[in-house]
Amino acid sequence: MDIERIDQIIDSHRGEASSLIQILLEIQRENGWLPREALDRVRERLQVPVSRIQHIVTFYKAFSLVPRGRHQVHICVGTACHVRGATRILDKVEEITGIKAGETDLDLKFSVETVGCVGCCALGPVLEVDGKTHGKITPTETAAVLKSYE
């Protein structure tokens, strides 16, 4: 992401420090993660302390300080999904991707994350890939779903 684009985003918020979170979210959304240069630029332009930026980007799960994969895999480990076998789904995902929850593989293909209840417990166990929900999923189906992504 180049500096000009970051400046555009900042300008669209009139460079106001009160829009810090919105600006960070937009950079995150477009770029997939928050590189150091981007944060430095935001700090300079908005005149906010690094400590505040650090606090915010490490507080909200929406932000990532490292590159994320092309596909976001979320395994629900909420109570309902847990009793319906979420652990087996998670194991399968970890086996196929070769990474653990919270990590991204070296090819930047998948980022795996466990999440709390996603709000459709009747469909548990639930797997979400790039926002698409796969309900009542089995380990075998999990493998098929993941294989369909490039």
Binding site: S51, R52, Q54, H55
Partner: protein, 203 residues
Amino acid sequence: MSEVILQIDGKEVSATEGMTVLQAARSAGIFIPTLCYHEKLEPFAGCRLCIVEAEASGESRLIVSCVSAVEKDLVIKTRSERVDRIRKTLLELLLAHAPDSPKLQDLAVEYGADKNRFEKDASFCVHCGLCVRYCAEVVKKNAVGFVGRGTKKEICFVPEIASVECNDCKECFPLCPTSYLQAAFVLTEALAFPNTSSEPDSE
């Protein structure tokens, strides 16, 4: 500003409108334990040790005295069975993180708190935020901040700022109830900007 009369521990206390219950108590020489409060800083209401019982129109409730404004005819009890029990538990939880903090140990004696009640998780920092807020609000350098959230929350020095500002300041050091702050600083210094402090020259 108008005067507000309230009662604290059976004593008539006169305060000015807008004052907190804690400030009113202190001005009358009545002690309420605090951990995250500092008179130069905005109240943080993080530690909850300063809770007191407040009675108004026949109802008794618990209030956090460092952020609760005085009200006319409020009847405050700074100690009661309920308050003491809560403070004891809070201290026990804090002691699980910082068992050797002198400040916590003193209060533990007062409230009969057992530092071994909860399993130890010696993170040392108890998230009082004094260091972070002092650096931001009083010194205005923001050399130290919080990162993370929940059980993973911790303080973190910003090396670029700390390396130029901290050695000549260190005003936050005595504020830390646990000495974790000093430890974190020394660690940051060793990792990010060694040899900038006033160590004897060894070249």
